[in-house]
């Protein structure tokens, strides 16, 4: 088991967003979390990376075993070294070029020599199809290109797992494809991924496991076939009916 989260709770004020979620991820898994907005998907991802502090919960991450509420700074730093994060709004460093965005974590966070980091960074940018844009600043890039830099920044760290928080939700529809293509490619290379998305095609074609969340709990989980073709729970069926076109037929 690479990542195991148990009984994670999180409230914002009176509003309980996560009500005891468990999650297990094996090496090489591509897990997609589906669910209506407000169901806690993003909060779950953010709690795993300590961008939000969970109110309760436990995580085992390789050799690190922590309480999500009381984790020390050192433990948090250690876990963040193993996890990379791709944000909905890209969150590129606006004062850095594409290449500097990718190498920042390597040079400053991991103390890798600059020349070596540049090599790694260029390779990561090549992989996402941005060989021409090493020295472009974020403001010069389209949304799709920015998100691909965001993915390159995550890949370059060579993390154990990459968390994707609705990576295509902020994009113009015609730019979604280029980002999904890159994500499919890195999934094919064996990268462990945990993806929150509304892209059903990605869940169907790429994921080996789909989790359906609603109102702060995991309603059901299984293979894409389990979830899309023969969902057990009424809530899942209702959700799928809402998000999928009526004549949508699954061929798996």
């Amino acid at each position: 088991m690479m990542l195991e989260i148990t009984n994670i709770h999180k409230s914002f004020g009176e509003n309980e967003i996560l009500k005891g979620v468990d999650l297990k991820i094996e090496k090489g898994d591509v897990v997609v979390i589906l669910g209506p907005s407000g169901s806690g998907k993003t909060t779950l991802l953010r709690c795993i990376n300590f961008l939000e502090k969970a109110d309760q919960g436990h995580a085992i991450f390789g050799d690190i075993d922590v309480n999500l509420k009381t984790a020390s700074k050192k433990a948090i730093h250690g876990i963040r070294q193993k996890i990379a994060f791709v944000f909905q709004n890209y969150n590129l460093f606006n004062n850095k070029t594409a290449l500097e965005n990718v190498t920042e974590g390597l040079v400053i966070g991991r103390k890798i020599a600059k020349a070596e980091a540049n090599e790694i960074g260029k390779k990561a940018l090549d992989k996402v199809g941005l060989s021409e844009k090493y020295n472009a600043y974020p403001i010069e890039l389209s949304g799709g290109q920015q998100q691909r830099v965001g993915i390159a920044r995550a890949v370059a760290l060579n993390p154990d797992i990459i968390l994707f928080d609705e990576p295509t939700s902020a994009l113009d529809p015609e730019l979604v494809g280029e980002v999904l293509t890159v994500m499919k490619q890195i999934a094919k290379e064996g990268t462990t991924m945990l993806v929150v998305t509304h892209e059903m095609s990605f869940a169907k074609d790429v994921a080996n496991r789909v989790i359906f969340m609603d109102a702060g709990v995991v309603v059901e989980e299984g293979s894409p076939k389990d979830i899309f073709v023969k969902p057990k729970e009424e809530r899942t069926r209702k959700f799928l009916k809402r998000v999928l076109p009526e004549d949508y037929i699954f061929y798996i």
Binding site: A84, F85, F93, R110, Y137
Partner: protein
């Protein structure tokens, strides 16, 4: 009186006024060295609504902004010596408080004053840098200090620079109030020179010119620096 301006005096006094520039700049630089880091830190306490400190900073800003600098000078100049005298007495330090160089009072007043102005400047500038970039910095393994030094502060500075420039120019001009502390700065030197022959008009023109040249130069330097810092913003716009 009827012969118009005394050009010889005008030129001579220009250089007298000019000789006060180092004092004015010295006060300005000390005030900025104190106020830039302090203003930034206190701006952070305001943004993060850090308990107590946040309120203290808020009250401090309204006190400083709501009172004239000259009154702040009078208050510091009259109260600090009393305070020092009692401290000296208590610890048996053999020192006359009236021997203290008045430039120290200028340092105190202008540092306090500029800090208050920069708190507000930084507060608005920091909030223009998205919180997401800070999260991204954490997610690639940067510590808090690294994230601020490499990502947040450089971008904050670019946004804040025009306002820091304004604050600096205001500060330089405000050092003219140092004459109330008998500081040998631009205004006092020219005025003293004018006292001899009552050539006040010439002296005031000189003072006017020296501040104008000094402030224009500072503005120009800020513009250059801003251009250099904001490369990443200029390209796309």
């Amino acid at each position: 009186m009827s012969e118009g301006l005394d050009y010889k005096f005008l030129v001579e006094t220009f250089f007298v006024a000019l000789s006060g520039v180092p004092t004015a700049l010295f006060i300005t630089i000390v005030a900025l060295l104190v106020a830039l880091p302090l203003g930034f830190l206190l701006a952070l306490t305001r943004i993060n609504q850090f308990p107590v400190l946040d309120r203290v900073a808020q009250i401090y800003v309204s006190f400083v902004r709501g009172t004239p600098v000259i009154i702040q000078i009078f208050i510091i100049y009259s109260s600090v010596p009393l305070l020092l005298a009692s401290i000296f007495e208590k610890y048996n330090i053999e020192m006359n408080v009236y021997d203290v160089n008045p430039i120290w009072y200028a340092f105190i007043v202008f540092s306090l004053n500029t800090t208050a102005i920069l708190i507000e400047v930084f507060r608005s500038a920091i909030s223009t840098v998205s919180k997401g970039q800070l999260e991204a910095a954490y997610s690639v393994g940067l510590t808090n200090v690294q994230a601020f030094r490499r990502i947040i502060i450089p971008q904050t500075l670019v946004v804040a620079l025009p306002n820091i420039c304004t604050a600096t120019v205001n500060l330089i001009k405000a050092t003219s109030l140092g004459y109330a502390l008998s500081l040998q700065e631009i205004t006092l030197r020219a005025k003293v020179a004018a006292n001899v022959g009552y050539n006040y008009v010439e002296a005031y023109i000189d003072i006017f010119l020296v501040y104008l040249i000094l402030c224009s130069l500072v503005e120009y330097l800020f513009k250059l620096y801003e251009k250099r810092l904001s490369r990443y913003r200029a390209v796309g716009i």
